[in-house]
Symmetry: D2
Subunit: 253 residues, 4 copies
């Protein structure tokens, strides 16, 4: 079964900064999409902030099994109504992969209910991503760790809720650590946060990173039917209670 | 050490409905406050929706260790800016106890990042609250279960994130079950959701319920200093990295 | 890909009790195997306590992706060495589904590290299994609940560790509740506990129960290579440290 | 209220190795006890492997609120019956702090139900312990991290169950990371694993380590009455069911 992924990118740095443009011609979403599509079981589309409705129309989301999100400089430009729409889709069963600086995106903060803050340093230092949970689906095909020679540092404390599972923890040359791969579930939606991916470095061209992205999409994919209205709170009237009862006492409703 | 609790109530039903007013003269917050103060280690204040800034001024929150929240009919009337303020306080270390229909309050939904939906029925049926986690602080002093002869039914699925711990599960006469006591942590703040407490019934006059409320406040209290700005994401410059490193590569920041 | 399941049964009640024999000719493992094989993607073998090495030889486990365990009257007759062997397999990546009275099996108690105790009553009462986590893989194809008209009651507190996820909670006619579907991970092995299945009732002939069993096997299956020696604690010598360091200070090893 | 701690030590290295003896005259338990008692709210006793019943008699455990465990070279010499006894106490509500190489102790492996394996290197390298969960009780009074200039390296994967909460993660000079502070609950017992504490280094003389140990004891202390028989699985007869029911169908019990 083909999984339908949508790689979303704010697409700002690539147009404002020549170094980034040179690393990611056409945008980071192009590189992410290429990684996702490399083994043929994932069909990838892309969308960017500048598209109508940020490319996240109801129709586009109808055809999306797993959404990937990269944002950094323009979090505030994402329309609140679109954020609500995406959240409802996640609750209904759409998977979500949040990448790197997406930790501060509106959608991630909304789904976490937490500050999602961290420490950072842009120094092109070495990051070593350790697999904490061997044989977890998102670690499939990886060795015990992999190194990214130049990455931005993100340091703990990362103020997110305790995850379902911690998959990766990063070691940084400058002395910090970071929980780099965390899983969550919100409603029927599987969520994965993956740390690496600073725009100034070739991270999304790395084969191990590509492997993680594909693994994460496969893990996040929920093949069951979507929950249409995850926020509904239906009354179960007395005459339809599973056990026979009789209404008693005062009533407010 | 005295814990400073603030019992917040939207205070709508008690003014619109004679049955509710008769059960809770002066408002449900009065009964909740009485229960909290019964053993002397908790100093209680109250606040209602109709107060200036809903009674949740920065000054009031400065003096609050644990906030209790009852709302139902007027969730939408709570100002978004106040919700942000309360969330920031929770992240900084203030405890939060969300009661009954507060499952759909803005503050709870914000902190959960999930729909927080459920099934319901107002039929005055019997609820039996089972202690799932014996010797958990929030179950202190309770037996293996306690019954509330007339309560509103809330039924699963309760679309909240997987909790840190499940403390109570309720059995309902009409055939449903519900996770009635759930713990969470968001930032430095301890959060407890407690199901019972429909406005049409005398639940907050029940001694076992009072015990749970006191236990929950004691559990949620974080005696450590508040985190002033939980959303801050500080840079750690190269020259202040814990290990000596030299900056490399391109820079975007 | 075909998943290889092994349905293990202590096979005692079916030979000692005519009612049970009549319900489960040939043993409960026959009914369980029939349910597992009903959709063709699961290849099932069976094993019983009375087999050589309880049918759990190294060779048999080499060909097992997911093991199902039903035991009750003869937990103590299971050889400790076999329990160690099965545990090591789970840690290495074999899935394990523990059924009903298997809560007190040596293997489940070993993997949980907890008493795994509960309350019980054999009265043929009605159980209603509620789906707490809609769209969880183990709840696929089920409605919001399903009823078993006659089942043994198991009541909380169920003294197991807090699970990764709670999938089902049961309502009992006699007034109790129970967490009937719980997921765990130990090492690389996925573990699911499923409550229904008393030997005196036709539970394993129920279609919804069969659906749960198949779902659980698919969920528990870990397609990645097994970890051969999950208990190994390898030294990483100084000259093979990821970063260059020099040994310092005293040494004990 | 004074908390009664019992610091248990296998007490082998200190008698076999002059370096260790010099660091810890009288044994590591002496240093641990000194740290625990430094603020007056914890009353400390000590026990060692060589004591009758390893110093873990029923009488000794009757007077223990929180047990600390240091072992390494002699795990196999701990009597299985004593391990069962200690486990039952933990399930009943006694706290347990497992230190460093205690990760491979019988009691920790029993309570985790997992291999508890890891990588290691004894090179006197620098460890930096990061607080991942600020304002957690076990991190009280600590800064954002603390350094131990010479420690043994423990590296991921640490094959333990997903914890309730991750409190500390360590960075090692040689390039590894490790989850150095993890909380669990088994039955009514709170369990904390704390990584630092190699016998060849002065770790237990470090003030920050002492702070962690005291914090952990306070956190693990469960003031509620012990559960006398945590493994009991009582029948609830039909005539004592919370709701009136009539027994139906066949019976095996």
């Amino acid at each position: 079964m083909t999984i339908r992924a949508l790689a979303w990118n704010e697409f700002v740095h690539e147009r404002n900064n020549k170094d980034v443009e040179a690393l990611y011609p056409g945008g980071m979403h192009v590189a992410i999409a290429a990684a996702l599509g490399a083994e043929g079981d994932i069909a990838v589309k892309t969308a960017v902030l500048q598209d109508a409705e940020h490319g996240l129309t109801e129709a586009a989301l109808d055809e999306t099994d797993v959404l990937l999100w990269w944002g950094h400089a323009a979090h505030d430009e994402v329309d609140d109504a679109i954020v609500e729409r995406v959240a409802a889709r996640v609750w209904g069963g759409m998977g979500l992969i949040v990448l790197h600086s997406g930790h501060f995106s509106k959608i991630f903060r909304k789904l976490m209910g937490a500050p999602c803050a961290l420490k950072w340093r842009e120094a092109g230092e070495r990051e070593r991503v350790w697999v904490v949970n061997p044989r977890h689906p998102i670690a499939a095909g990886l060795g015990e760790n992999f190194e990214l020679e130049t990455e931005e540092m993100y340091g703990e404390p990362f103020s997110v809720p305790e995850p379902l599972e911690t998959v990766f923890i990063s070691w940084f040359q400058g002395g910090e650590v970071f929980r780099s791969g965390l899983t969550y579930r919100r409603g029927a939606g599987n969520i994965f946060y993956f740390r690496p991916g600073h725009e100034a470095y070739p991270t999304y061209h790395d084969k191990r990173v590509g492997q993680v992205l594909r693994n994460a999409v496969r893990w996040a994919f929920n093949p069951q039917p979507r929950i249409a209205k995850p926020g509904d709170a239906p009354e179960v009237p007395v005459d339809r209670a599973p056990e026979k009862i009789t209404a008693r006492g005062p009533s407010v409703h």
